[in-house]
Symmetry: C2
Subunit: 388 residues, 2 copies
Amino acid sequence: LAVCHPGDKIILPRNIHQSAIAGLVLSGAIPIFIHPEYDCDFDLAYSITPDALETTLQRHPDAKAVMIVYPTYQGICGDIIAIAELTHRYNIPLLVDEAHGAHFSFHPHLPSSALSAGADIAIQSTHKVLGAMTQASMLHLQGTRLDPHRISQALQWVQSTSPSYILLASLDAARQQMALFGESLMTQTLELAKKARENIRQIQGLAILDFQQPKPGFFALDTTRLTVKVSELGLSGFEADEILRGQLGVTAELPLLHHLTFMITLGNTTADIEQLIHAFMILASMKHSVRCRMSDVRGWVSDIEQGISLLSPRETVFSPTETVTLEKSVNCISAELICPYPPGIPVLMPGEVITSQSLAYLQQVLRLGARITGCSDTTLQTIKVIRC
Amino acid sequence: LAVCHPGDKIILPRNIHQSAIAGLVLSGAIPIFIHPEYDCDFDLAYSITPDALETTLQRHPDAKAVMIVYPTYQGICGDIIAIAELTHRYNIPLLVDEAHGAHFSFHPHLPSSALSAGADIAIQSTHKVLGAMTQASMLHLQGTRLDPHRISQALQWVQSTSPSYILLASLDAARQQMALFGESLMTQTLELAKKARENIRQIQGLAILDFQQPKPGFFALDTTRLTVKVSELGLSGFEADEILRGQLGVTAELPLLHHLTFMITLGNTTADIEQLIHAFMILASMKHSVRCRMSDVRGWVSDIEQGISLLSPRETVFSPTETVTLEKSVNCISAELICPYPPGIPVLMPGEVITSQSLAYLQQVLRLGARITGCSDTTLQTIKVIRC
């Protein structure tokens, strides 16, 4: 809203958060999507690469901004310094969804913060990683590529005129805590994370998402995010989550089909980590019947072509829709965002043409145990399309 | 956003809250403004009348919705039953900004609630009058004229995906308090208000906004809002506010040029009311030098014609602007909302043509002590216009 006028292009990764899609709806900007890199082993999306961005910028030199997710939910960081340099070479701003990275500034062993890497704006969910209350977030701005007046004007269009003093005070308290004790708190958090990683890694049948050396879309890892692959035990991340929560007193942050991601934060204690390690030892010793096999999907993700968009997200939400069966939907314009987990990359965005290839892919991943999100019928019997 | 498509017309009072203007910017709807009735004695805007609405509906039978403010900040209620009937005769929904009326449902001596009067949707600032925390509000929906799915979709475009549980819990606590004790709490509040009104009315030099009999735009009064006119004492509401706050331990809710409005709520005690009465007795006994004389303005308000709009609010905010001197701005398109208090009715809306008549009016009210809000230069040396 603050950066694009209606019809302006903005470059985004295909797996951008739904709040950015809402921004497209409100502004009328045209998304130019880049597929993030994909890890077939862990069934995880990485960042976009500088190469992919360069190709896209060459094809769309009129783009008004680039937006990236940094880090991902699993703590995966792309090559943000190269991305920022490239973006600025085109004289446009880099907007960073740094929702999961509010702690990066406070310890040298954490990845670079978006601002220190050259981002023009970084939006952080201060409540996710630091001590602010749920809903409390910060928007950080630097440099001269963005107009602060325009940003505060845009915020007025979407924010309450009666802000909560409690939430604001909690932001200030979180800021103070990190300003005074940030490095020591993060040292302790990193040590707890290390302990968890080292112990869980040794448990038979489990694997941990680690960072060895830079690869495309994976340039650094926030090790306070712990992603544990459980599918070799013969159960899905969702099933493991039920056992961990129901029987072992452990709550994962994000269970998915093959793995679960845990957050280790300044609020955790050694006892928490010991409980986590112990729970995984018990989980791994249980007998599980093999139910999910996603290996077939792995090769496909990169085959799915970028959808052809006939309507902008804004045009789509103001168009009359109808609900049709899957067979009847081919060649129609999707009114919905349809995103299977894994891989967590939308197959259809609002306004894109539904192809038989994309439907076949969605049906396959559903059969293999993936979940579809974003759409009204998550069993995918029907789909909402723009009325012809 | 949930009711209008881009280009759709919506009928609104000219003194609608800025959040509704934000709604016009986000949706691209075209406002059809109605001037509210105006009280020359108290310098106060009332509601719009059913007659004015009927004329507007006849002129714009393609309008998609009517929105009203009910009650006003001062507790003034228009003839909402007639307005709802008339709106529904055109088969369109009535949206009510009931920010100041969340308590109406809970006592027979308060005005009718918007929903009981037939509104299709009512938005209440539960934090203003009831016990919820600041920022916590409710949207109430009834009937079949509005699509609940569409409303929740529109909310997703402007709300956080991480709602505050504390604010939500405070809404539920406020709801429970009123469900269990609402009538007795409101009985007590109404008695406190009555005591304040009866005592302050008798103080020489003060006048109180009362309801005697229905007049256009003023059909009922929430007597828990106490508006005290102080200008006959020879001081403005702003000056009275400074004395009350600085010397007498009393905080007004809304001081304006001629009067101050106080809120009496379920949180007040007899001691509060006694302090308020006592403070006004002292204020009235002080010597004040006469500074403001707004009587000249009184006749003008109704003369100001509805501005001619060349751009919708949405088109305006996406157009390039420049800042020019007042003289150079005549016949330009205003990029700003410019609203003098009193009377609190915008003279210029974003997208409207600036006329020499409207500038002359604004300069007069400024000279007489009014304050201009909404624009970047509140001294009105310059004005932001759309670049030609």
